[in-house]
C-alpha cells in the first residue's frame, strides 16, 4: 500500500485541534496574493448537455469574461446587447446607492436595521438579467439587486424598511426582509438557507406541471453549512428539477471567514460535484461572467437537464449588517486589495471600451439616481416611519397567522381592546 510519495499536507499538529484561520486579522496585512486567479481564457465552456462528470474542472477554476482591461474574452464570452449591459450598470448603481441611502437612514435612526450588498451587486443584477421575469427567485437577504433589476418600486422597498403603513409585510419583518410576489421574488427568511431546499421543491413542481420556468435560489457561503443546503442538493440530484443553486462566496459570514464554513480544502462549487451536479465557479464581480453562467444554467434547467450549482467568488465590502463593525475581525483595508475589482467599475470600463458609455454619462446617471433616490425616500417617508407611528393598523397584528382567524386569536385581539 501507499506506493506514491508526495509532499506532506499535514494539517493537524498533534494535541491540538485544527481550527481554520483567515489569512489576516485586524493588525495584519492581506493583499490576497494567496489567491490564484486564472485568466479569462482558462475556463472551458461545455455544451449544456455535456455529462457533468466531464466538466468537473469548472468547479475548481474561475469563469471570467472581463479581463483586467475591461475587455470581454474567453470561452464564456458571448454577445450581449449593449442595452442589457447599460441597464445592468444602472441597476448596480441604483443598488449601491440605495444601500448607501438606507444605511444613512439607519444611522439617523429612521430604520432599525440594514444590510448592504456593496461589491456584490453584479451577482444579483446580472443574474436577474439572465433569467426570465417569470422565473422564481428564492433570495437571501443580500439580493436587493434582483428586486431592483426586476423593477420593484424603490418606494415600496423603502416602505418595507421603514415598517410604515405601506410596508407590504405589514410591519412584521425586519428591514430588508422583502417579499414581492408579483415580482416572483420569495419572502426572505431570517432563518438561513431554508429557501434553498424550498426552491428545489418549487422546481420539482414546475417539472411536474411542465411550466418551463426555472427556480433560482441564493445562499451565502457561510450558509452552505446549514442543513437545508444538503436537502437542496440531495433533492436536486435525485429529481433533476429546473433550479439554479447559487452560492455567494463573499469571503465572510459575519466575523467568520469562508475557511470556517469549509472553504479551506476545496471550493464551494465543489459541493455540487459531490452530487454529480454541474458546478460552476464564477468571478462574482464580473457582470458578463455572472450573466453567462446564469444563462448557461438556465438553459440547462429549461432543457430538462436539471440543477446547476454556481459559486460566485466575490468580497463583502460592507459590514455584515448595520449591527456589525468588521474592523474588529479583519484588516480595515482588506476590501481595497480584493483582486477581482469592483463590479461597477469593471462593467463601466467595458462599456466605455465598447463606446457605449462615457464618464459624463456615468456622472449624469449618478446625479439622476441621487435625485430620484431622494425623491423616493421623501415619498416613502410620507407614509411614515417606524417611529412616527404611521405603522400598519395594529389590528393587523393578529391577521395572517392562519387563513381564517381562529377563536384564540379573535379572543386575544378582543382582549387587547381592538
Amino acid at each position: 500500500m501507499a506506493k506514491k510519495q508526495n509532499q506532506s499536507n499535514i494539517v493537524n499538529s498533534l494535541n491540538k485541534l485544527h481550527v481554520p484561520q483567515p489569512t489576516a486579522r485586524p493588525d495584519e496585512f492581506n493583499d490576497f496574493s494567496n489567491l490564484n486567479i486564472p485568466n479569462v481564457e482558462q475556463a472551458e465552456c461545455p455544451a449544456i448537455d455535456t455529462n457533468p462528470h466531464e466538466m468537473r474542472g469548472l468547479a475548481y477554476g474561475l469563469i471570467r469574461v472581463l479581463d483586467d482591461d475591461g475587455n470581454a474574452a474567453g470561452n464564456w464570452n458571448s454577445t450581449i446587447e449593449p442595452h442589457v449591459l447599460v441597464k445592468g450598470l444602472k441597476d448596480m448603481l441604483v443598488t449601491r446607492m440605495f444601500d448607501e441611502r438606507m444605511q444613512m437612514m439607519h444611522r439617523v435612526g429612521k430604520i432599525s436595521f440594514y444590510m448592504k450588498s456593496t461589491g456584490e451587486e453584479a451577482i444579483s443584477v446580472a443574474h436577474a438579467a439572465a433569467i426570465n421575469f417569470a422565473d422564481m427567485v428564492f433570495p437571501s437577504y443580500r439580493n436587493q439587486g434582483i428586486l431592483i433589476a426586476r423593477g420593484y418600486s424603490l418606494v415600496d422597498m423603502m416602505c418595507q424598511c421603514l415598517s410604515n403603513a405601506r410596508d407590504n409585510c405589514k410591519g412584521r419583518q425586519l428591514p430588508i426582509m422583502y417579499s414581492w410576489k408579483k415580482g416572483n421574488f420569495f419572502s426572505i427568511s431570517g432563518n438561513l438557507a431554508t429557501q434553498f431546499s424550498q426552491a428545489v421543491g418549487w422546481a420539482m413542481a414546475e417539472a411536474q406541471q411542465g411550466g418551463g420556468r426555472v427556480a433560482s435560489a441564493f445562499v451565502g457561503e457561510g450558509s452552505t453549512a446549514e442543513l437545508d443546503f444538503h436537502s437542496a442538493l440531495t433533492f436536486a440530484t435525485a429529481f433533476s428539477p429546473p433550479v439554479i443553486l447559487n452560492i455567494t462566496n463573499n469571503q465572510w459570514a459575519i466575523s467568520s471567514n469562508q475557511v470556517v464554513a469549509g472553504g479551506e480544502k476545496t471550493t464551494f462549487a465543489a459541493r455540487g460535484i459531490g452530487f454529480g451536479l454541474p458546478s460552476l465557479r464564477v468571478d462574482g464581480n464580473d457582470f458578463l461572467a455572472v450573466y453567462a453562467a446564469t444563462k448557461w444554467a438556465a438553459a440547462r434547467a429549461r432543457a430538462g437537464l436539471g440543477a446547476t450549482v454556481i459559486e460566485y467568488f466575490t468580497y463583502r465590502v460592507a459590514p455584515h449588517s448595520s449591527s456589525d463593525d468588521p474592523s474588529a475581525y479583519r484588516p480595515k483595508n482588506e476590501p481595497d486589495f480584493w483582486p477581482l475589482g469592483d463590479p461597477i467599475d469593471r462593467l463601466k470600463t467595458h462599456l466605455i471600451n465598447l463606446n457605449q458609455w462615457s464618464e459624463t454619462q456615468h456622472e449624469t446617471l449618478i446625479e439622476d439616481i441621487k435625485t430620484e433616490m431622494k425623491q423616493n425616500y421623501k415619498q416613502a417617508e410620507s407614509y411614515g416611519t417606524l417611529k412616527s407611528g404611521d405603522r400598519p393598523d395594529v389590528t393587523t397584528m393578529f391577521e395572517d397567522v392562519y387563513e381564517d382567524m381562529p377563536l384564540n386569536l379573535l379572543r386575544q385581539r378582543q382582549e387587547m381592546g381592538l
Binding site: 417579499s179 419572502s187 431554508t194 424550498q198 421543491g201 422546481a203 411550466g211 442543513l227 444538503h230
Partner: protein, 337 residues
Amino acid sequence: MAQMNMLEAILSAQKTMLARDDKVVILGQDIGYFGGVFRATEGLQAEFGSNRVFDTPISENGIVAAAIGMSLNGLRPIAEIQFADYIYPAFDQIASEAAKLRYRSGGEYSTNLTIRTPCGGGIRGGQTHSQSPEGIFTHVTGIHVIMPSNPYDAKGLLISAIQSNDPVIFFEPKRLYNGPFYGEPDKPSVGWDSHEKGEVPEGHYTIPFGKAAITRAGEDLTIITYGTMVHVVETAVKMAGVDAEIIDLRSLAPIDNDTIINSVNKTGRCLVAHEATKTGGFGAEILSIIQENCFWKLRAPIERVTGWDIPYPHAFEWEYFPGPKRITNAINRIMEA
C-alpha cells in the same frame, strides 16, 4: 358506506383527493412503489403515476422543505413522515417556515402542506417508534394539529387537512390502524368492523377542524382526550362505572373550547388523558383552558393521566402506557374529591 379500518380510511382520503384535484401530490419515504411501511399509500403510485406519488430521499427536512416549495408553485402536497419520532429533523422547516410564512410575507405567500405521520405506542416499537410529539407542535402558532381516533373521523379530517390552505400536521395513532384499542393488550384485538366509526363513506366528505366529538354523553365528570386514548378511556369508564362525558378533541389546534367548557361547567369534574409525557404536554393546555373558564364550577381538581416523563421503553410499554387502571384510579379520586 363501506367498512374500513383506519389505514383504509386514510388511504381512501388520499385517493379521493388525488382523483378530485390534480394538484394533490404525495411524497415521502417508501410511499411510492411500495405503498408505505404501514401501507397507507398502497396502490396510489400505480393508479396516479410517479408524477403524483413518489419516494423521496431519507430526509425529513428535505421532504417538508420540498413540499413547501411545491405548494408555493400551485401544488397541494401531502408529505408522509414515516414515524412521528422522526419529524424532528424537519422541525425548523415546520416551525420557522411553514408556520410563519403567511405572516411574515404579509399574506403574500403561504403553504397548504399536509404532513401525515404515525404516532403513539403499542406496537413494541421502542422509544423511537412510539412517541406522541403533538405537544411540541401545539405550541407553534401557525399550524393546525389534528389527531383522529377512528376511521370515519380520520378520512373526513384528512380531507379537510388536504383542502386546508394552512399547514396541517395530521397525527395517526398507529395502534388504531387495524382496530380500536381498549387499553388491554392481553385481550384479543378487534377490528374496526366492530365499531360504528368503521363505517366510512367511499366518496368525499369533510369534518371541520376545531370541532370536538362527544363520544359518550354523561353527567358525573368530563374526560377530555384524543387519539388512542379515546378508546382506553371508554374501557376505564366502564370499569369505574361512572356516567362520564367523554370528549374526543380530534383537533388540538384549533381547539374546541366551547365543547370543553360547556361539558365541564355541567359536570364540575374533569380528567385529561393523553399518551404523551406529562410535563409540558398538551394536557397542560387543556387543563389551563378549563381552569381559566370553568373555575367557579369545578368541584374537584382536574387530573392528568398521561405517559410518564420518560422515553417510551421497549420492555415496559404497558407500564408506561396510561392504561385503564390508572385512569380508573384517577376517576375514583376525582369523584371522591
